[in-house]
Symmetry: C2
Subunit: 217 residues, 2 copies
C-alpha cells in the first residue's frame, strides 16, 4: 500500500510539474522571459509560491527548462524537413523557410528563445541548442557536398555560420521595436522578404548549385 501511495504521489508530482511548465511556456509565449516570475507563475498554476520552489530551485532553472522544451520542438520540426526525401538544396531552402515562418507566427516566443536578455542558465541552453541546430545542418551539408549540391570545405564551421545567420536575421524583425512598428502600421519587413533574403543568403553561402541560384536570388 505504501508503495502504491508513493507511485501515486510521483504521478501527481509529474503531472503538476508538467502543468507548471505548460503555464510557464504560455507566459513566455505571451510576454517573454521578462514576465516569467515565480510569483506570477504560481498564481497561474493555482499553487503557493513555496510549492513552486519545491519543483524548481528558481527562475533560472525554470526558464532553462521552458527554453529547452520550446527549442526541442523547433529542432524536431527543422529535422523533419531537413531529413525529408528530396534534393539537398531544396531541403535546405524548405528548412529555412519553415524556420522563419514558425518564428514569425510565434514572434514573442521566438525572440525570447533567440535573443531576449535572460538568466545565464538560459544562455547555457542557447549554446547547447545552437549546437543541436548546427548538427542538423552538418548532416545535410555533408550529404549535399557528396552529391555535388554544396561547395564547402569546412562543413561544421559552415553549419555554425548558417545557425548564426538564421538567428540574427530573425532577431531584428522579431524584436519588440519591430513588433511595435507593425502594430502601429509603420513600415516593417514582411515574412516573405525575411524568408527570401535569408534563403538566398544561406544557399549562396554554401555554394548551392543551380537551379537554386536562379530560384532563390
Amino acid at each position: 500500500m505504501a508503495y502504491r501511495t508513493t507511485l501515486a504521489r510521483q504521478d501527481r508530482d509529474l503531472e503538476l510539474r508538467q502543468r507548471i511548465l505548460d503555464c510557464a511556456l504560455t507566459r513566455v509565449a505571451d510576454g517573454g522571459f521578462a514576465v516569467l516570475t515565480m510569483q506570477a507563475l504560481a498564481e497561474d498554476v493555482g499553487i503557493a509560491t513555496g510549492s513552486l520552489y519545491r519543483h524548481f530551485r528558481g527562475k533560472g532553472e525554470l526558464a532553462a527548462e521552458v527554453f529547452a522544451r520550446a527549442s526541442q520542438i523547433e529542432v524536431d520540426a527543422l529535422a523533419a524537413v531537413l531529413r525529408a526525401p528530396g534534393q539537398p538544396v531544396a531541403r535546405l531552402a524548405a528548412g529555412l523557410e519553415q524556420f522563419a515562418a514558425r518564428a514569425w507566427h510565434s514572434r514573442r516566443l521566438a525572440f525570447a528563445l533567440i535573443a531576449e536578455p535572460v538568466e545565464p542558465e538560459v544562455d547555457e541552453q542557447r549554446l547547447l541548442y545552437r549546437e543541436a541546430y548546427a548538427e542538423l545542418f552538418v548532416e545535410l551539408l555533408e550529404e549535399g557536398v557528396r552529391a555535388g549540391a554544396f561547395h564547402i570545405e569546412q562543413v561544421a564551421l559552415s553549419a555554425a555560420c548558417l545557425v548564426g545567420a538564421i538567428a540574427e536575421a530573425l532577431v531584428g524583425p522579431l524584436s519588440p521595436p519591430a513588433r511595435a512598428a507593425r502594430e502601429q502600421g509603420r513600415p516593417s519587413l514582411e515574412l516573405e522578404q525575411v524568408s527570401r533574403t535569408l534563403t538566398t543568403f544561406c544557399l549562396r553561402a554554401v555554394g548551392a548549385s543551380l537551379p537554386a541560384e536562379e530560384t532563390y536570388q
Copy 2:
C-alpha cells in the same frame, strides 16, 4: 577651496573607476565573466568590496560596462578596416579576416564577449553591439551594391546575417572545449581555416563579384 576639493575628489573617483574597469577587463580576458566576482575584483584593485559597490551596483552593471568597453574597441577596429579606401569586396574580406584574427589572439575574451552565459545586463549589451556591427556592414554593403560589387536586396537583413554568421563561426573554435583540445595537442581548427571558411561563406552570401569568388573559394 571646497570647489577645488570636490573637483579633486571627482578626479580621484574617475581614476579609481577607470582602474576598477581595467582590472575587471584583465580578469575577464583571463578567465571570462565567470571569474569576475565583486570580491575577487576588489582584491585585485586593492580596495574594500564595499567601496567597489559605491562605483558599481553589482556584477551585472560592472560586467555590462566591461563588455561595452571591450566591444567598442572591436567595433572601432572593424570600422577602421571596413571604411578604409579600396574595393568593397576586398574591404569586407579584410574586415572579416581581421575580426577572426583579433578574436583568435584573445580567445578567452572573445568567447566571453560573444557567447559566455552571463547576466542579462550583458545580453542587453550584446544586442546593442550586434546592431553596431550590423550598421558597419550596412554602410559597406550599400556602397558595394551601388558599385555592383554585392548583389543583395535587403541590405539591413543581410548585414544582420553577416553578424550572426561571424559570431557563430567563432563560438565553437573559441569555446573552452576547443581551447582544451588545442592545449592537449588534439586536432583542432586553425585560424587560417576559420578565417578562410568565414570569408568564403560571407562573400558568397552577399553575392560578391569576381575576383573575390576566385580568390576566396
